[in-house]
């Protein structure tokens, strides 16, 4: 089933649907996002240019179970009571074997179901590299055009080196929680170095102060350390401060090259995976002795 099934022919044109979405029609926005997700529309087709980075698209990343969804729910209710409109893109993994996905982030976002100033859309990774679907870039731009003041992107539960989110979001918030390992964990390289803010959630639990202290001391030596906040999505402690700081959060200096690198890799992956013969190429690699390295050397030139 594609986009617009059940709609009249004129209503299926992406630009028409986009105009309806901009005027506040949720169903049109939802249909347009499906077209975006399926790669059926582009910035050009919608007549918009790529968004200027202004801090309004915020990536929320962190390991599974640290409380990303619950924290987002707290932000949704805080920001919407301040009169803001917020959109959320919640990414969950697709099965590498069947392509199916169970998208469950919105269970913990109660505002998703009835707050008129909130729009939550679940995205499956569809096995795109880095756990971040390419369509998220255009999806976020479309949401901003539809008057959503802030777009939050919740990544799949990630480990230490999933940094693809930096190529789609203006700012990165890394969510941590207490009791996730010894103090050396905070010293390791990875996403922590690119985060514009680090939130230690579950501050109602014992050990959260120490977790925050370890992170602060690890980052102090790097220069330009990002702010580290303690919050509890359970009790709402620290949420108000987080909501305020996120609205004016500066980008962490020194991450520009890493961001550019991720944007290039995203564009490169996209170009490779949208080749018309990609399925034949994969079948060939799966069933033959040819190595992927050889295929790259023989087929890709630059």
């Amino acid at each position: 089933m594609g986009t617009g099934y059940g709609l009249a022919e004129s209503e299926r044109l992406p630009k028409t649907i986009f105009e309806q979405a901009i005027s506040g029609n949720r169903r049109s926005l939802a249909k347009l996002l499906t077209a975006v997700e399926n790669g059926e529309v582009s910035h050009d087709l919608l007549g918009i240019s790529s968004r200027v980075v202004d801090g309004s698209v915020i990536g929320v990343t962190g390991a599974p179970g640290v409380g990303k969804s619950c924290l987002i729910e707290r932000l949704l209710s805080t920001w919407t009571s301040d009169g803001l409109k917020i959109a959320v893109i919640a990414v969950d993994p697709s099965s590498p074997l069947t392509g199916g996905a169970l998208l469950g982030d919105r269970i913990r976002m109660e505002s998703a179901d009835d707050n008129p100033n909130v729009f939550v859309r679940s995205f499956a990774t569809r096995n795109q590299p880095g756990g971040m679907p390419n369509a998220v870039v255009l999806a976020a731009d479309v949401m901003r055009h539809c008057d959503y003041d802030i777009v939050l992107i919740e990544t799949v539960g990630s480990g230490q080196s999933e940094i693809r989110i930096v190529s789609v979001a203006d700012r990165i918030v890394l969510v941590e929680a207490p009791l996730r390992g010894d103090e050396v964990q905070a010293e390791k390289a990875g996403v922590m170095e690119l985060a514009d803010m680090i939130v230690v959630n579950k501050s109602d639990l014992e050990g959260s102060d120490r977790a925050a202290a370890n992170i602060i001391s690890a980052l102090e030596v790097t220069g330009n350390p990002p702010p580290v906040l303690l919050t509890s999505a359970k009790t709402a402690v620290g949420i108000e401060d987080l909501a305020v700081q996120l609205r004016t959060l500066p980008a962490k200096p020194g991450a520009e090259l890493a961001r550019a690198r991720e944007r290039l890799l995203t564009a490169w992956d996209n170009a490779l995976l949208s080749r018309k013969d990609i399925n034949e190429v994969l079948d060939g690699l799966a069933s033959s002795e040819n190595s992927a390295q050889e295929w790259v050397e023989n087929n890709l030139r630059w």
């Binding site: 169903r27 939802a30 996002l33 169970l102 998208l103 998703a112 859309r121």
Partner: protein
Amino acid sequence: MRIVIAKPGLDGHDRGAKVVARALRDAGHEVIYTGLRRTPEQIVRTVIDEDADMLGISSLSGAHAFLFPRICQLLVEAGCIDVTVFGGGIIPVDERPILFDSGMRAIFGPGTKMQEMSEFVDAVISRVSSNQPVGVGEGGDWVWSSGE
């Protein structure tokens, strides 16, 4: 297919809904699970925002006779006539015709094989591609019968 699996009403028995969500995931579909105790209005909004092709609703509390037709009615009112609605749970056989009349296309009771759910979804896909009605507001009298 994008499929929303929802638990309307007050009953807390979601083992079945979760198993179905998992089985449809394993059949290659993108499944959005709403969690427990959702109102018909909340479920319809989820279907709209997630642009779902299908909605599965589960009830074991006896409230299906009110909740299921109400959800179908709200979907039609919202213009989602093309969404295929199916149900599961404890639904007495003699109460099913009313649910089918409200636009539902299948009711799965206890003991349903996961294979059958998947065959139902495939049947819906094949009917859509040949422009035969399957949506909650598209009319026609097709409902799923096992072994089809």
